[in-house]
């Protein structure tokens, strides 16, 4: 039972620290807020590492297969027998992996923020929000019930909203937080409908039962496949709607528009929420329901694959043209999540076919490390330069040696250069794609080349390119130790995370999968990545006109990509011109004229009538008496002659 307690404490400690800091932080704990948040998370991290160790090496495996273990469960709302919303904690390989990632990255961000957010007016509030987010994310990944995951899903959305809009006196941050919330909320509508469809079909909300019923031949599965709507079975629709929710959180095309804007939040927040943890919730959701996707609805899984591949490609193209370093990283995040998505999309269930699933989770793991590192590094640079624009940077390598080195490691990792973390996971993804879908493989190969190019464009622009003009900056050094330490730890992780024998732990069916490195296969992607790096080196190592020349050579395409393919404009067009004009304005007219008009009419009628008759109440006693007497006489007449 102490095991269950320790698992409840993993999300429980951040919740406690949120309550403590949220209620008392601003008044009493201003100075210590950071330490309270960090220490509670440190405990949480230790607990989740212990849990992971116990699960993977001691208790998780029964005859070679990792089990789904429900450690605690409380039935919260029971609708009918077997259909209930439970609050439970489920351990299985992916949830255990996720709690380790979430607590670890969150801990790094907490430590980093001690330096980065120092002197901030709402320091305690910031840590309260961070704790709230960590709590919600941990609750999300540990959920044992599909409705529970939805509740935490929304909580995560709220904390993301709060943190993006943390600088609420900046109009752009306010707009960005609203945009993020509305777009993801819109996607969550799909998720909710998907949950209803799936749970209606499967007659349960519990993940374990749901997956069991929808993957083996049961009456529920047969009736769901039998019920068809617009050419797809209700199962496919349910899964696609759930995926829509996932796509919203994970910034998949066409719901990705909020992610670049979300960079208005503090940089450590971007590292935690918009790079390493929350945005992979969509991937996690698909992975959670993966057996259903793979076994019962391969059509839906194909959609996941193509959406992922397409998002990966366009995000990479856009990333090549952006000049705000955080936006480059945002698009690169979107691109990498696209990789995870299509890796799931090309995967099958069980054994060798499950390679894509394992690769996706592996990439999720390594990506969390190096993307958090990239963002924290970018944060250190922004902290130093006080600007997000690449033009204001350049030549920083000697000013910020630690940041430079760790950033380089992360760039190499994301580009897929051996032996850094990204190489291993990306190779698995490419291999899975190669085995199952050649089109996606081609897209992925090209995208990974592009990835190397834009990451090193970023790297060279920040750290090389031109001399840094220090005169208009007071040189306050690279940053305090609290900022450097997470960079170093994450840098080490980005170096070694790839060597984790991941396929032994996380696979689609819980059984160990032996993977081998195909040296020959790796040649093409690594070669492409090196080419990308080389091009970036030629163009951005030092100031030269080459980059502009190439940009103008691409002409229209460059313009398109620079403006993010005008997707924001399309959204604005659709919402402002079409929805507002065709639906909003008529609705407003009906509201103002018919609904309000009806109410006003009845009010006016009442008013006019009472104006007419109010003089009857004159206050003249004798007038009343006459009426009273006349009335009485009238009654007498009626009773005497009419109603005899």
């Amino acid at each position: 039972m102490s095991n269950a307690l320790s698992i409840i404490l993993i999300p429980g400690l951040p919740l406690l620290s949120f309550l403590l800091l949220g209620l008392f932080g601003r008044k009493y704990l201003r100075e210590n807020a950071g330490w309270i948040g960090t220490l509670s998370l440190l405990a949480s991290t230790v607990l989740s590492l212990v849990t992971a160790f116990n699960y993977f090496f001691v208790s998780g495996k029964v005859s070679g297969v990792y089990q789904q273990i429900i450690v605690a469960k409380h039935t919260w709302l029971e609708f009918s027998h077997g259909v209930s919303i439970d609050m439970g904690f489920m351990l299985d390989p992916i949830s255990v992996m996720m709690i380790v990632i979430v607590t670890f990255v969150s801990l790094m961000v907490h430590i980093y923020s001690l330096g980065y957010m120092k002197g901030e007016e709402r320091f305690a509030t910031y840590y309260a929000f961070l704790s709230l987010f960590t709590f919600s994310m941990l609750g999300l990944v540990l959920s044992s019930n599909i409705f529970q995951i939805y509740i935490f899903w929304e909580l995560v959305g709220v904390s993301s909203f709060l943190l993006i809009g943390f600088y609420f006196d900046k109009p752009s941050a306010v707009a960005a937080s609203k945009k993020a919330f509305i777009v993801t909320r819109f996607a969550d509508l799909g998720f909710l409908i998907g949950i209803l469809v799936l749970s209606f079909g499967a007659e349960t909300l519990d993940f374990k039962t749901l997956i069991e019923r929808l993957t083996t031949s049961t009456p529920q599965l047969n009736s769901m496949i039998g019920a068809s709507f617009l050419g797809a079975s209700s199962l496919t629709w349910g899964l696609l709607l759930v995926f829509a929710g996932g796509a919203g959180k994970s910034a998949m095309f066409p719901l990705h528009i909020w992610l670049p804007d979300a960079m208005e939040g503090p940089t450590p927040v971007s590292a935690l929420i918009h790079a390493a943890t929350m945005v992979v919730a969509g991937v996690y959701l698909v992975a959670r329901l993966f057996p259903v996707f793979a076994i019962s609805a391969p059509g839906a899984l194909q959609v996941v694959g193509y959406v992922g591949a397409f998002s990966a490609l366009i995000a990479a193209v856009i990333a090549c043209t952006q000049t705000d370093i955080k936006r480059v990283l945002a698009y690169s995040t979107m691109s990498q999540i696209g990789f995870m998505m299509f890796a799931l999309g090309v995967s099958g269930y069980g054994g060798e076919h499950g390679l894509g699933y394992m690769a996706s989770m592996f990439h999720l793991f390594t990506h969390a490390m190096f993307k958090a590192l990239l963002f924290l590094g970018a944060g250190a640079v922004i902290h130093y330069v006080h600007s997000n624009e690449m033009e204001d940077m350049g030549g920083l390598r000697s000013k910020m040696p630690v940041t430079h080195l760790t950033f380089l490691i992360a760039c190499l990792a994301i580009s897929g250069i051996p032996p850094f973390a990204g190489f291993f996971s990306k190779e698995e993804i490419l291999l899975a794609a190669f085995q199952h879908n050649k089109l996606i493989y081609a897209v992925a190969l090209f995208t990974s080349g592009l990835t190397a190019f834009y990451m090193f464009r970023l790297y060279f622009s920040i750290f090389w390119n031109k001399e840094f003009h220090a005169e208009h900056h007071d040189d306050h050094g690279e940053g305090p130790m609290t900022m450097k330490l997470p960079l170093i730890i994450l840098g080490l992780m980005a170096l070694i995370a790839g060597f984790v024998p991941f396929s032994h732990f996380v696979t689609s069916d819980g059984q160990m999968l032996e993977t081998e490195m195909h040296i020959v296969f790796s040649v093409a992607p690594v070669f492409l990545a090196l080419t990308g790096i080389l091009i970036a080196f030629r163009l951005y190592k030092s100031e030269n006109p080459g980059a502009e020349k190439i940009a103008s050579a691409f002409g229209g395409l460059y313009e398109w990509a620079l403006h993010k393919f005008y997707i924001d404009e399309i959204y604005l067009f659709v919402t402002k011109k079409i929805i507002f004009n065709l639906i909003g304005k008529p609705s407003a007219w009906i509201d103002r004229n018919i609904v309000d008009g009806g109410v006003n009419l009845s009010a006016d009628l009442t008013g006019d009538t009472s104006d007419l008759i109010k003089d009857w109440q004159s206050g003249k006693l004798q007038k009343y008496a006459i009426w009273f007497f006349a009335g009485a006489m009238g009654l007498v007449v009626v009773f005497m002659y009419v109603w005899r």
């Binding site: 109440q617 004159s618 003249k620 006693l621 004798q622």
Partner: protein, 103 residues
């Protein structure tokens, strides 16, 4: 000539309408109060007359009349109290001035 029920009812009706006329035309609230007494007394006469001519030997009509006299006394006390208060506030006992309770 024997005095019959009709004669007495005629008297009470006349009394009643004199009371109504007085209530509607007098402006002095005290006089109006007196008119009300006329109304009440016409009712009293009715009760007694019906009791005597139609239900001889029974007492209900007499009791009612006694009640009515008591009620009339109480009512007169309350009404005069109101009139005195009204006079204190408005320096008048004219019913035309008592018209502030309106829309």
């Amino acid at each position: 000539m024997e005095v019959g029920l009709t004669h007495i009812l005629f008297l009470s009706t006349a009394l009643f309408f004199i009371g109504v006329y007085g209530f509607l035309t007098r402006r002095n609230t005290i006089t109006m109060l007196m008119a009300i007494e006329l109304l009440l007394n016409s009712v009293n006469i009715n009760f007694i007359a019906f009791n005597k001519y139609l239900y001889g030997g029974k007492l209900e009509g007499v009791f009612f009349t006694l009640f009515l006299i008591a009620i009339a006394a109480a009512e007169a006390a309350v009404a005069i109290a109101i009139i005195i208060n009204f006079y204190r506030n408005y320096k008048s006992i004219d019913v035309e001035d008592a018209d502030s309770l309106k829309w």
